[in-house]
Amino acid sequence: MLLINCPYCGPRPEAEFANGGQAHIARPADPMSLTDDEWAAYLYMRDNTKGLHHERWRHANGCGRFFNASRDTTTDVIKRTYRMGERPEAEHQGAKP
């Protein structure tokens, strides 16, 4: 079973976690000024990266907290996990911010 390193609890079995989709998507500061297309892009459009992808995970059956993980989508190797509010390391910034 895959081990995922929770930034709070340490390495834990994959079965305890839930994937939360792509990370670092900021909600537009002023949604009313957006066109429908721009709003739809914010709501629905996500990267389909081959390679390093930054995504949110939740330790659902553990501490219950969300965190971020940089995962290679081709090998399924998680290079690094980091807390909410932190940015991916420069060396890992392969994916679009």
Binding site: C9, P13, N61, C63, G64
Partner: protein, 189 residues
């Protein structure tokens, strides 16, 4: 007001007398009812809560602290479970609530939500590992550790009070399932 007898019945009480008769070195027992409060808040509020409760909450991840029948379990970086065995939840909640007046925090009485099982015996870890993927060796899961995890299809709070004694705190609706799961596992191991 409802009488306490109507308000609270242990979901595991019918299970205690049932189960396999197979000789096993691991015993299952139902833990006594307890007042349980979930606390969420920052450091200042948790210190005040601990001072009132009489148990200093662990700030280290996945650890619990116990004094007599009272214990505090770390659940998350800003979340703890306060447990007082055989105490009246209304009184415990009232006291804590008053002590936390003015603090930015949340306190919820969850006494009726879950029931406890003690899994004891030299092969207790092996029995739990039939459905729990955690490493339960003493090195990875020492005495004094607690964590929410999974067992089969159920989510639960697992803690180790002694080398060969684990406590399982599971939501009522999952309690008979977890009991039967452990009962079957111990008959195999």
């Amino acid at each position: 007001m409802l009488s306490p007898a109507i308000m609270r019945s242990n979901a595991l009480s019918p299970m205690q007398s049932s189960g396999t008769t197979a000789a096993s070195t691991t015993s299952l027992s139902v833990l006594p009812d307890a007042a349980k409060l979930v606390f969420r808040g920052k450091t200042e509020a948790i210190e005040a809560a601990g001072a009132h409760f009489g148990v200093k909450p662990s700030l280290e991840a996945c650890r619990f602290a116990a004094v007599g029948g009272r214990s505090v379990y770390w659940l998350g970086p800003d979340e703890w479970l306060f447990q007082a065995v055989n105490e009246n939840p209304i009184e415990v909640f009232g006291g804590m609530s008053a002590a936390l007046q003015g603090q930015a925090c949340s306190l919820v009485d969850v006494s009726h939500r879950s029931d406890g099982i003690a899994v004891a015996g030299p092969t207790a870890a092996l029995v739990l590992n039939h459905g729990c993927p955690l490493d339960l060796s003493l090195k990875a899961f020492p005495v004094g550790m607690c964590t929410r995890t999974v067992l089969g299809k159920a989510s639960l709070l697992l803690s180790r009070s002694e080398e060969h004694v684990f406590h399982v705190d599971v939501w009522r609706s999952f309690a008979p399932y977890v009991w039967q799961f452990l009962d079957e596992a111990r008959s195999l191991s």
